[in-house]
Subunit: 216 residues, 2 copies
DNA sequence: GTCTATACCCGGATAGAC
DNA sequence: GTCTATCCGGGTATAGAC
């Protein structure tokens, strides 16, 4: 968050240009979308020549990869944080603790997408050659993993059933995220609350009706 | 599908260049994504000067709008076709006819996304100024409308409940569509079948567990 | 580690001829 | 309705100086 400068006439001489580029990329993408980002634009905003960033990134794609990795880290962190907070201990209520954890994941996911639009876009919409950037191969796995344990509990350790439940839950969550991002729930933070709540409820609905997931 | 030419040395002189541009745009987008499309590239493929398309479209965006409209038409047609086919009459089985129709919608939606990648991308990912192109305002409404009637039946005409059910179903369906498009279910047509089936099952699950959607 | 300068390509868009 | 010709802006990327 702090802008690193060496106070040398406002230039980034020896400052952490790499991080600065990434931060700027986030802002640009938030404003103009993925295709609106360019190293040229970022350089301009940072008061730096277009050539400078090439000391830190081989090309444009490498910036996006770095952002994607940052996105995976922060998203999984957000999910784990959300599930770790342990709201009500669920005192043997009508919904199981596992279901609550899944709903928490959904909330965290949607909230992350809404409050980290750029990173989420990079993670989801960037058409990076996943075979070339192996670091991104398991991005999906890493996110899905957080959902898996509670799902296994709910499905009595039936791996196949849990897998399908996870997919259904992530699909749904992803759908709510997409909706909140393109304004289906309106503007402002009310929209985020609406989306997170409804996403969590949808997860509960999926859990309740999960018997239907095994159909042929 | 037929390429309209006047057989005048392979040129489009007096041919239906407008349609040809749209068809070409679909192909280009399928190969290189939304941002990979340009009037220049389309012109090149059609053996026409870059200036020619401007007789038919004011600018690049107008092409995308035309594609989006085509997308809405075909998608709603696909949904209505899917629901109209009336598979098994549901002979008072365990799932209601309304639920079957919703599942059919989901199937149609996912299948459309998979088999009309470009049109779907334009419809969902194009950042067109919806306030400038009023024709697109009600695109979402038109799609959602197909889901609404069956949902109302299921919810005993409770409009608010039906609305939330529709949103949940569309979110889920959209999620499966996104997944099949970025290869989560693998390549080939098997993936499409998997995705459509699971999407339909998820809809059944949501319907079964819909009591949870009303939570605070 | 950054700057200057530069070469290159591509897309958008228009004027005027045919 | 299309072509020729042209202008403009913008992005990528590199070489070489400091």
């Amino acid at each position: 968050m702090t802008v690193p400068k060496t106070s040398d006439r406002g230039r980034y001489h020896h400052g952490d240009l790499k991080e600065a580029v990434l931060d700027t990329a986030v802002k640009v993408i938030a404003e103009h979308g993925l295709s609106g980002f360019s190293l040229a634009e970022a350089s301009r905003r940072l008061g730096v020549t277009v050539a400078a960033p090439y000391r830190h990134f081989a090309d444009r794609d490498e910036v996006l990869v770095a952002l994607a990795l940052r996105a995976v880290d922060r998203l999984s962190a957000a999910l784990e944080a959300e599930t770790g907070e342990a709201g009500e201990p669920a005192e043997a209520g009508e919904t199981s603790a596992a279901a609550e954890r899944l709903a928490d994941c959904a909330r965290g996911y949607v909230r992350f997408a809404a409050t980290n639009r750029s990173l989420y876009l990079v993670l989801l919409n960037s058409t990076l050659d996943k075979s070339r950037y192996t670091e991104l191969q398991d991005a999906g796995q890493r996110i899905g993993g957080v959902f898996l344990q509670p799902a296994l509990e709910l499905c009595d350790q039936d791996a196949a059933a849990a897998q399908q439940l996870v997919i259904a839950i992530i699909a749904t969550t992803q759908g709510y995220a997409a909706m909140v991002l393109d304004g289906t729930f309106g503007p402002g933070s009310d929209a985020v609350d609406t989306a997170t709540t409804q996403a969590a409820n949808a997860v509960f609905a999926l859990v309740r009706g999960r018997a239907a997931l095994g159909r042929p």
